[in-house]
């Protein structure tokens, strides 16, 4: 059976440190204002009975990805392993995919972002100089599940970095994989499942 990569996000373990956000940025050299994974917070209840929940978000690499459906150039495509990627050579930067994503996990690269740099001073750091050439200005970008790392048998940067092991990555087609076991044991569910995009990122409480 072909591999189908997915991820489980454990809301009980997530402490909202956003180390995943920084790890992703370090690994992929994303410019200012673009974060392929973010951990959102939500306050529940009213004082004095208040609690805070952290909700890590990432591209869901949907099986029926609306971003791939609406892309007029087929720049957004789904690999055999189920990873949704963007071919920057084909992308025309129309933004239809950004608009179509229900999770708002795509972004368009703007020239002014690169010109200003991470410190918004116009000065580009050595880190940015080595990372920015991989991008094409004007195109759409998104989480790639660190497919280059995965191809080498490594885990995505956000998964490796998470201090509480709140992120579990693996083959959803393998019944013995960690994500599959977690989903079954703790009744994993998907974000906005009713939209029928068939996300491959699951949440467990």
């Amino acid at each position: 059976m072909t591999v189908k990569y997915g991820m489980v996000l454990d809301l009980k373990r997530c402490i909202g440190c956003n180390a995943c956000t920084i790890a992703c940025k370090a690994e992929n050299s994303t410019p200012n204002g673009i974060a392929w994974t973010e951990t959102l917070s939500e306050e529940i209840g009213t004082y004095p009975n208040v609690t805070r929940v952290y909700v890590p978000t990432i591209c869901n690499h949907c099986e029926d990805a609306p971003c791939a459906r609406v892309c007029p150039t087929t720049a957004t495509y789904i690999t055999d392993e189920g990873i949704v990627l963007v071919d920057e050579d084909k992308c025309i930067g129309c933004g239809a995919c950004i608009v179509a994503c229900p999770y708002k996990k795509r972004a368009k690269l703007k020239s002014e972002t690169f010109e200003a740099g991470l410190h918004k001073s116009g000065e580009i750091t050595p880190f940015e100089k080595q990372g920015y050439p991989r991008f094409t200005i004007g195109t759409a970008v998104k989480c790639t599940f660190c497919h280059e790392r995965v191809d080498q048998g490594l885990l995505p940067a956000c998964v490796t970095t998470c201090p509480t092991e709140a992120r579990v990555f693996g083959d959803l087609n393998d019944p013995k994989s960690e994500p599959r076991k977690l989903i079954q044991a703790r009744k994993g569910y998907q974000a906005l499942a009713e939209l029928n995009t068939k996300p491959k990122v699951f949440y467990v409480d």
Partner: protein, 296 residues
């Protein structure tokens, strides 16, 4: 104890409604030029009214792509946009625009110089009209095709898109033609004046239905509608789209006047409403929170 509600959070790292910010005035302008241009050609073509057809053709063939090029991140790759007609409504719309541009031009040439025979001329006319129809309606399918934004995800969107295109076509044809072909054809003038009023009425009902559907579809839809009626986008929506684009245009059209000044005012108010709606649809659209843990 009050029920929990979500805020519009923008880019903050909080669970809440997020704003659509990828599409703005440039692509709204592109769709606007396409709508009005295709609509004007569509209506004028039924009366073989050449100035109307030329105006519509120029608007869609030059102004629409110009605005689109301003929006695209990689405009020199624009030709790739027709490669996914299988699933992408943008590709289908571009194919429609190409049909309209090519066969619309041939139709105008044929009308002027009768180069093609009746059979071929008929096919050319049909393909040109098919192209204009696609250009008028495809924005609605582009918006409704994606499930991400409750305000857009309605079957009414193609209807609204088409009606605005036709309305633009009727008002522009009336404006251009009132002192030429319409002066000699009172039946056509009466038909177009009536059609104008009916289209304004359909627009009003469609927009009200769209709001109603969005408001009772989900909490995100309700939050979006509240923005339009009471919040940040109230001025644009109630002011430009409803008051100017529908009510003022409707009242002016109801006078039945064929004075050039009145027809010009009707056209201006209608076009303000058309562009205003596109802007407000793009600016006000909200994404649902990815997960919700609403509790009392």
């Amino acid at each position: 104890m009050p029920l929990r509600t979500y805020d519009i959070v923008g880019d903050e790292y909080r669970v809440g409604y997020r704003k659509q910010d990828a599409w703005g005035w440039k692509i709204a302008l592109a769709f606007f030029f396409g709508d009005v241009g295709a609509g004007t050609f569509f209506v004028s073509a039924f009366y073989n009214y050449m100035p109307g057809m030329i105006f519509g053709w120029i608007l869609t063939t030059f102004f629409k792509p110009a605005a689109l090029f301003m929006h695209l991140g990689q405009p020199l790759r624009f030709w790739r946009a027709i490669t996914n007609v299988r699933t992408a409504w943008i590709s289908r719309g571009i194919v429609g625009a190409i049909l309209f541009t090519g066969f619309g031009f041939l139709h105008m040439v044929n009308l002027k110089w009768a180069i093609f025979g009746p059979a071929l001329g008929g096919i050319i006319f049909f393909l040109a009209m098919a192209g204009t129809f696609i250009v008028m309606i495809y924005l609605g399918y582009v918006l409704s095709h994606s499930p991400s934004l409750p305000l857009w995800n309605t079957g009414l969107m193609p209807v609204i898109s088409l009606v605005y295109g036709l309305m633009g076509g009727v008002t522009m044809t009336l404006l251009f033609g009132v002192n030429s072909f319409l002066a000699a054809d009172p039946a056509a003038l009466h038909f177009l004046k009536t059609a104008e009023l009916i289209l304004i009425g359909i627009t009003l009902i469609s927009i009200l239905s769209m709001l109603h559907g969005a408001a009772y579809n989900s909490s995100t839809g309700m939050a979006t509608v509240r923005q339009l009626l009471f919040g940040e986008h109230q001025k644009w929506f109630l002011g430009y789209v409803v008051l100017v684009g529908i009510i003022a245009a409707g009242l002016l059209a109801l006078t039945g006047s064929t004075a050039i000044f009145i027809l010009l005012l009707v056209a201006i108010t209608e076009l303000i409403g058309d562009f205003g709606l596109k802007m407000v649809l793009f600016k006000s659209a909200l994404y649902s929170p990815p997960l919700s843990h609403s509790t009392v």
